[in-house]
Symmetry: C2
Subunit: 353 residues, 2 copies
């Protein structure tokens, strides 16, 4: 029996509602594959912040460190500014554990009608690889002449050779691992004067190490348009922290899967735990109703299994999700046009496993 | 007879092919409305750069200054890096003439099938108002330790009170002028630590000056997804230089109009000439074939007419474009599924005027 220690942080809002369903599915798939999960729960959230002035305790990072992976729900609550809640939990975890890859699938799922015409299952199936620790997400900068007409705010993006090269290499290695032959770079070297020409330079340097892989690059503006106009043609798309963030919401927007898409915050060297979380937020508007769609959390758990080396278990969970969605009589939550609860849908997927 | 002096810069690639069609349409509409255009041509381009080492002569800005407006084709050619060609012509013009508004319509046109299912003419009709002179498009920053493993590039975005407030005010004034009641702000205050919380702060301050207008704001990642999932719900969307750039390509991508969308680079105070240009680039791949779609250039000329106070003439040009596209037997260029030439389509629109 294999054993994995998982830190479970449900977080805020619907995070606390969808997490139990992911754990239910993990239990089911663990039973089938002889995997034991040691789960430790952490109630860190905006609630914690209101009580203690911190999103997580001072030794939070250390308490997470001993786990094999982290499963996160969602963070954020009305009244707590995003740049407080996120920079107090999500972003420090990404950085302290050097989770420099943010990985998100863009895939049509059975039973989900995408907003695009003329596309069907299998037509859109690619990954966005996002740099997750530096670039535009930076605390460098500040404000001067506050409150006066001369007020000015500077925001500094920082791109290091190390940070740029390693995400680009990951994208190429990942394409190879998937057996895909095409890597696309998101750039904006026609407008962003220093950082993006540098990004292009490194992209070409790293691409030269992977002669079997075809490359192209698009400015982020036209690339965003191409996600809508011809999403069929991508395999792996690599972008900076900000561009990757945009593309990895836009992609699931195009496939109609934004409410169910997962993400991995990955430390590929496995020196630190990686973290898996749905793309959706804490959705305060529907919290407490028990109708949140748990698939994003469950799919995130599947990505976590894959990362832990449990490829077979991961594939089973994905198959269960697709079977339930494609069955025609699944208990669907309201966002998918049904009337089922979070628990109904979670139980159906656990059952299908 | 009213008179307007127009500086005409066809630029590179298909810019030189579509410009004559816009001028043909201007002539037709001028004849109808008793408007005389004084046209002065400038051959500034990457060709000029190759010959002289400059995209435009040293006194280029001064030579443009005396005109009422500038009609630009497209700039860019293979072998000339974008950040050279654009920062040597397009961007200095935007800045020297304080064209701090970049304005772009997102609109379904008759006869053009959008990539989205379930939308029809009239369903999508909004404007992106983009800050056009500061923000993320900045020459501030640089590189250190070039060529070493410690290499690092900093890119600084600068947001001033003046620059931020005036674009936000323009968006609200513009919404009022259109009789629209809803302004949406593009932000990323959950990830971009200094500049975007500041942007939000100013958005709320300026919104308070326009009590009749409903506001909302979305982070750029989810906003991009919403452009695809529910483009019907926008009236005016305002964003920083970079976010506006992305959204104003994504919008026309969603409506299928990217090859025909126009843009205005506007100095609202009319202290300097404003500049109008199609969204498409110089398209080296199809240049010289005479098959480029001239509608983006013609629509840009319509926006120019509107800016010059020739609202009636502008409306006539738009009506001509829509009549031709909707007629069912128009001479369409290959990008629209036809076999006509640039000239055929331009002539048909001039005729319809
Ligand atoms: C060509 C480039 C510098 C430009 C921009 O990003 O501003 C273009 O994309 C545009 O939107 O006009
Ligand atoms: C919540 C926010 C900071 C975050 C980001 O922009 O990284 C989110 O959009 C994501 O993609 O995980």
């Amino acid at each position: 029996m294999r054993h994995h220690d998982i830190a479970v942080i449900p977080g805020d809002g619907i995070g606390t509602e969808v997490m139990p369903e992911a754990l239910r599915v993990l239990e089911a798939v663990g039973a089938r594959h002889d995997i034991r999960f040691g789960l430790r729960h952490f109630d860190w959230s905006c609630e914690t912040y209101r009580r203690t002035g911190r999103m997580m305790p001072e030794d939070g990072i250390d308490r997470l460190r001993e786990h094999d992976a982290i499963l996160l729900g969602a963070v954020g609550a009305p009244g707590v500014p995003d740049h407080v809640s996120l920079w107090g939990l999500l972003i420090p975890i990404r950085r302290e554990f050097d989770q420099y890859v943010n990985l998100r699938p863009v895939r049509l799922l059975p039973g989900i009608t995408p907003p695009l015409r003329d596309v069907g299952p299998g037509d859109i199936d690619f990954w966005v690889v996002r740099e997750n620790t530096e670039g535009e997400y930076s605390q460098l900068g500040g404000r001067q002449a506050e409150g006066t007409p001369s007020e000015m705010v500077l925001q500094v993006a920082a791109f290091t050779r190390r940070g740029t090269d390693r995400i680009l290499r990951y994208a190429f290695d990942f394409a190879r691992r998937l057996g895909r032959s095409h890597v696309t770079s998101a750039t904006k070297s026609n407008g962003i004067f220093h950082s993006m020409p540098y990004w292009d330079e490194r992209f070409h340097a790293i691409a030269a190490e992977y002669p079997g892989i075809e490359v192209d690059q698009y400015h982020i503006d036209i690339l965003a348009a191409r996600f809508v106009m011809s999403p069929q043609r991508f395999d792996v798309v690599v972008g900076s922290n900000l561009f990757g963030d945009i593309l990895s919401d836009l992609g699931p927007g195009v496939t109609g899967t934004i409410a169910v898409a997962p993400s991995g915050n990955i430390n590929p060297e496995r020196e630190h735990p990686s973290m898996f979380e749905p793309v959706h937020g804490s959705a305060p508007d529907i919290m407490g109703k028990g109708i949140a769609n748990p698939i994003g959390q469950i799919w995130s758990a599947a990505m976590m299994l894959d990362h832990l080396g449990e490829e077979q278990a991961a594939a089973d969970v994905m198959r269960a999700i697709e079977t339930v969605l494609g069955s025609g009589d699944a208990p669907l939550t309201p966002d998918l046009g049904g009337t089922a609860t979070t628990t109904d849908l979670g139980a159906a997927i656990a059952e299908a496993v």
